[in-house]
Subunit: 338 residues, 2 copies
């Protein structure tokens, strides 16, 4: 039934994972843009720069020297937002002034020894190594921490200060807001319908992208070209992917990211990350309502230099998008004959 | 008790209005910034530009000519995200594909006939006229719509495409996510404690800024220099402010915005907006749990050109801030001797 939604008329759509709505105003695409344009992405990145602290053999701000790594390389973030210890905040019985302890660790993970590559142009094997390393880190940090957030900020427009291909991993003693809400909504759905929400969603979206993975612009997408990657099988955590699924994931990631790059002929900026069942002391709780998925949030709207601003109305009232999710999916599919 | 929170140690804090947490990592302020720097604000804006569609006497994209207005001027947004009518989306009984009708109207409101002024440098009387117009619009659009969102995007960095001082008003047939959550949390607090949450909050924050208004960096602030303006009296909607309170509001707005401008010696960018009790068919419901307040969300972190990026971790997990709310309040107070 949802396919019959008019691409020309405004409406609101519900995001069952986040329990919130998005305002869709497709007629707004006709509006001319006179606002800020962004700097184009850097294109002349040298393969090796001895002063870049992410390069093999380079010296980091804390004086440590990187090994001559050949695949991935993981190290402690020199300016971590989460530290492993520290005094807890004082107790308070005032409902308006509540603080709680927060512990964690922050890692940086280089994808490749070269600075001038990105995931879509890395070899299939090298992308597979990245996936394996993600799985490994999730297991390792998941032993101690309730939530392991793997995320990549790509492009200066997304606050990324280093062009070398890398992601970050922030693990915390607490379940952050986003996964806490998703834990609640997925559990409620499971209790009501007897299936994991996102496993049902996979069944109902017909795009068949590859045997093991579904890649789509979710019905409730907020960012213009937001996408989601889902295994077709019910999988709780990234480490539960078997080798065939990891291979297929490397394939589909390379394809998706190439489509992104080609759409606006730029190294497409985004923030992406993985969400799977919680870990740490929640590891052995009942987590069958969870389904592993990756989220891509790219900021661009019209071209390599014009982004969607999520500002006044979005910050104070509700996310608003211009083109519909179906139009975005169409545009992403049409741009490369696959 | 909350005053004893260490300014040096990480913790999470609870936002009772939004029912979510923020990660506070004050030690991160020591981190050097090598990422994107923003263009400085435009400073050579001409007072009058016949080609600027917001100026008195100018012709707008739809061919209409602006009057020679002398105070404020309100007109229909030429590219509205919300239209007054249109076909509703088809019904669906699938919980994963839910859409609903959305109607509304979008207005633009110029603050002043001159393009080269901003609220802090406008006269007290002119700011008072803006406040009166806000109240008037809230009454007018509130007759038909459940939510009237008054908001200002200031600065190119906040997606504002026109330097002429102005704000927007988007009114909708539905209660958007942010106010829907705040309606729920404020109601629950009222039912539990017998007072409006934010009226209690006003009593517990001791900064005495002026007789009628409290201006503060909320305990749970997310943006580095986020602030909130609250009337000391229990007030449901902006139109309920009496003339003395409007005068005092003009005073405190001018002061607050001047402090902002002085802090980084720039015309400080932000998105701001008003939240008060719902309107339309919710006008005559029991809304006594609501308290009117204005929110300022400025993006800058370190200087006029270095902003806080709310990206990977923030989008996928939870908002994270560097300096504490108390440090931000201190910095804003210290910068001008008041
Ligand atoms: O003021 P404009 O140009 O209509 O639009 C601006 O504010 C809107 C409301 O916050 C956003 O949806 C747009 O992305 C932004 O560019
Ligand atoms: O990668 P960095 O420089 O540590 O930091 C970047 O990502 C973080 C996590 O999303 C954000 O909190 C910062 O604002 C952003 O600049």
């Amino acid at each position: 039934a949802h396919r019959r939604l008019s691409p020309d008329h405004q409406h609101i759509r519900f995001n069952p994972l986040k329990d919130e709505w998005v305002l869709v105003s497709p007629h707004r695409m006709k509006r001319p843009w006179k606002g800020q344009v962004e700097k184009p992405q850097e294109t002349d990145v040298p393969r090796f720069d001895p002063n870049n602290p992410l390069c093999p053999g380079a010296t980091r701000p804390n004086g440590k020297v990187n090994p001559d790594y050949e695949k991935t390389f993981v190290f402690d973030n020199d300016f971590p937002a989460l530290l492993e210890e520290g005094p807890p905040p004082p107790d308070s019985d005032n409902p308006l002034f509540q603080a709680a302890p927060a512990y964690g660790t922050c890692k940086v993970m280089c994808f490749h020894p070269w600075s001038d590559v990105t995931l879509p142009i890395m070899s299939h094997d090298d992308v597979h190594s990245v996936i394996d390393k993600w799985a490994e880190i999730n297991v390792e940090l998941g032993k101690k921490y309730d939530w392991v957030q793997i995320f990549e900020n790509k492009g200066a427009i997304m606050g990324c200060s280093n062009p070398h291909p890398h992601c970050q991993v922030w693990a915390s003693s607490f379940l952050p807001n986003e996964p806490a809400v998703k834990d609640r909504t997925q559990k409620a759905y499971y209790n009501k319908y007897g299936n994991p929400m996102l496993v049902d969603y996979v069944k109902q979206e017909c795009q068949k992208k590859n045997e093991h993975w579904l890649w789509l612009v979710p019905y409730w997408a907020v960012w213009p070209y937001e996408t989601m990657l889902l295994p077709k099988r019910h999988v709780l955590r990234i480490e539960d992917l078997n080798d065939e699924e990891r291979n297929a994931l490397a394939d589909i990631m390379k394809k998706l990211l190439t489509k992104y790059d080609n759409m606006f002929e730029t190294s497409f900026p985004y923030s992406m990350g993985w969400h799977g069942a919680p870990t740490g002391k929640r590891m052995n709780e009942d987590n069958k309502h969870w389904q592993l998925h990756a989220l891509y949030y790219p900021p661009l709207l019209r071209s390599a230099t014009v982004k969607k601003f999520m500002v006044g109305y979005e910050m104070l009232a509700q996310a608003q998008r211009d083109l519909t999710a179906e139009q975005a999916a169409e545009k992403l599919r049409l741009n490369i004959k696959s």
